[in-house]
């Protein structure tokens, strides 16, 4: 079924952190997108700056496919324990695919205030699948994935993260 081999998620996160570290400022905050992005952000946080404010964002109420699929997934509360206004936001997601989730996340963030800047970090950038003019500032790995497959980030019982390819 899958002839793509996926790298170890924790290694990707460590490599990402090394590249992101020089760009951190005193004004930077980390925001993970539910659910995979929150897990990735939790791992990135101590590697970047353990004192940096961080939060989590649920985009269920901003999705553009609500008309089609409704509100079935478990909504997790957004938690942004800092002022968004004027901040340098580092948005984290597990996989950048069509770009629609990131669009929704940006709309959600702007309802909390006007950030000074938003940058995007993802573990996997699915090249060629974008449906909106959105790009990652940091990508752990750029990958071509057949349209019949999905990449999931899974958190195992011991807290280890794992990337998995799933047939649709």
């Amino acid at each position: 079924m899958n002839n793509l081999s996926l790298p170890d998620a924790d290694t990707l996160i460590q490599q990402l952190a090394v590249r992101m570290l020089p760009d951190m400022t005193d004004n930077t905050v980390l925001v993970g997108m539910h659910t995979g992005g929150v897990w990735a952000a939790e791992k990135l946080h101590p590697l970047l700056n353990p004192d940096m404010p961080h939060g989590s964002l649920d985009i269920s109420f901003y999705r553009d496919d609500f008309e089609k699929i409704g509100l079935h997934t478990q909504v997790k509360p957004t938690r942004l324990p800092f002022e968004v206004e004027g901040r340098d936001i580092l948005l984290v997601d597990d996989v950048l695919f069509t770009g629609r989730s990131v669009r929704a996340a940006m709309n959600a963030l702007f309802d909390y205030g006007r950030p000074q800047r938003i940058r995007l970090a993802v573990l996997i950038d699915r090249a060629g699948d974008r449906q909106l003019p959105i790009a990652a500032d940091y990508a752990g790995l750029v990958l071509q994935v057949p349209g019949t497959q999905h990449i999931h980030l899974i958190r195992q019982e011991d807290g280890q993260l794992m990337l998995k390819l799933v047939d649709l």
Partner: protein, 318 residues
């Protein structure tokens, strides 16, 4: 429509008419979704685009301030267009039937009706009548049900007590005339509260309390003993005229919640009231405004719970 007129063929919530018969998982899904909307209500821009372009009609055939207002705020925070109709003052007095009114509003491309009516079953009748893409929320029908009030009460209890399975909950007052009490009892038992008590004089209790799985008390002190949650019901003034009670002073003496009576409950018990309160009749001001009172948080949570209900309904196809 299947056995439960509230559910579509996929078992999803199509209308919210009563809590009775809804599965536990569905109630939990509503409460969990409402948690997400509590966060929205703390945003700088307290609005999400979910129901943009949808038309929600508040059909209130019976006066209400708090419920209508919180439904209106909830719909607006979901970006819907809200149209408030105070029907007792318009078409009903011109002789138009309920379903004629509904048909006319549906012709104006309504997506959802929020209905309050003095007649039990009014919201059910509208739900059976409307086209499959239209959703109906019961905002109180006669003595029958007030499901969003029941849900916001469950949300409040979970917020303060964390879980349901270890609680003792007492509902005090006019259970007989209370659609709120019925919805609360169905919700509490569905969510697994092991001990639900009702405390009231015999004249204010319906005959079917035993079947509803509750314990009946006539003495306030005994009923409040060691409870975690005290829910006070509004004593409707018009009941006094029906000779069910001697006087409001007499009622306060035996069933009014005072600090002295509240001391029989657990020290960390919370006090709830669906509003509007009759201070000095069913509840003493010192308790209503006291540290154990969560009456105003109930109102705030009501917005998030109604946002959850409306957005879940709107996302399900008929």
């Amino acid at each position: 429509m299947g056995a439960n007129p509230q559910l579509n063929a996929q078992g999803e919530l199509q209308h919210l008419l009563t809590i009775e018969g809804l599965p536990r998982s569905l109630l939990i899904h509503i409460l969990d979704t409402a948690e997400g909307f509590v966060a929205v209500n703390q945003q700088e821009v307290r609005k999400v685009p979910l129901l943009r372009g949808k038309a929600i009609f508040n059909l209130f055939f019976e006066p209400s301030t708090r419920t209508r207002t919180t439904f209106e705020i909830a719909a607006k925070r979901l970006s819907a267009d809200v149209i408030n109709l105070n029907i007792s003052a318009s078409s009903q007095s011109k002789g138009e039937t309920l379903l004629d009114t509904v048909d006319n509003l549906a012709a104006m491309q309504a997506d959802m009706f929020v209905v309050r009516h003095a007649q039990s079953g009014a919201a059910h009748m509208i739900a059976r009548h409307v086209a499959p893409h239209i959703h109906v929320v019961n905002a109180g029908d006669g003595r029958h049900a007030h499901p969003t009030q029941g849900l916001l009460d469950m949300f409040t209890i979970r917020k303060y007590k964390g879980e349901f399975h270890n609680l003792r909950v007492a509902i005090v007052g006019d259970v007989l005339h209370s659609r709120v009490a019925r919805s609360q009892i169905h919700a509490l038992t569905t969510l697994g509260v092991p001990e639900v008590r009702v405390i009231a004089p015999k004249t204010l209790l319906p005959g079917d309390m035993g079947q509803m799985g509750v314990q009946v008390y006539h003495d306030l002190a005994a009923g409040l003993h060691e409870v975690d949650v005290v829910i006070i019901l509004r004593l409707q003034n018009e009941r006094m005229r029906g000779a069910r009670l001697p006087s409001s002073q007499e009622y306060f003496k035996y069933y009014g919640l005072t600090a002295e009576k509240l001391a029989y409950a657990k020290a960390d018990a919370i006090v709830m009231h669906p509003g509007p309160m009759n201070r000095g009749v069913e509840i003493d001001s010192a308790v209503a405004d006291g540290e154990q009172s969560v009456i105003l948080p109930q109102v705030t949570f009501g917005i998030a719970v109604r946002m959850a209900v409306m957005s879940i309904l709107a996302g399900n196809q008929g």
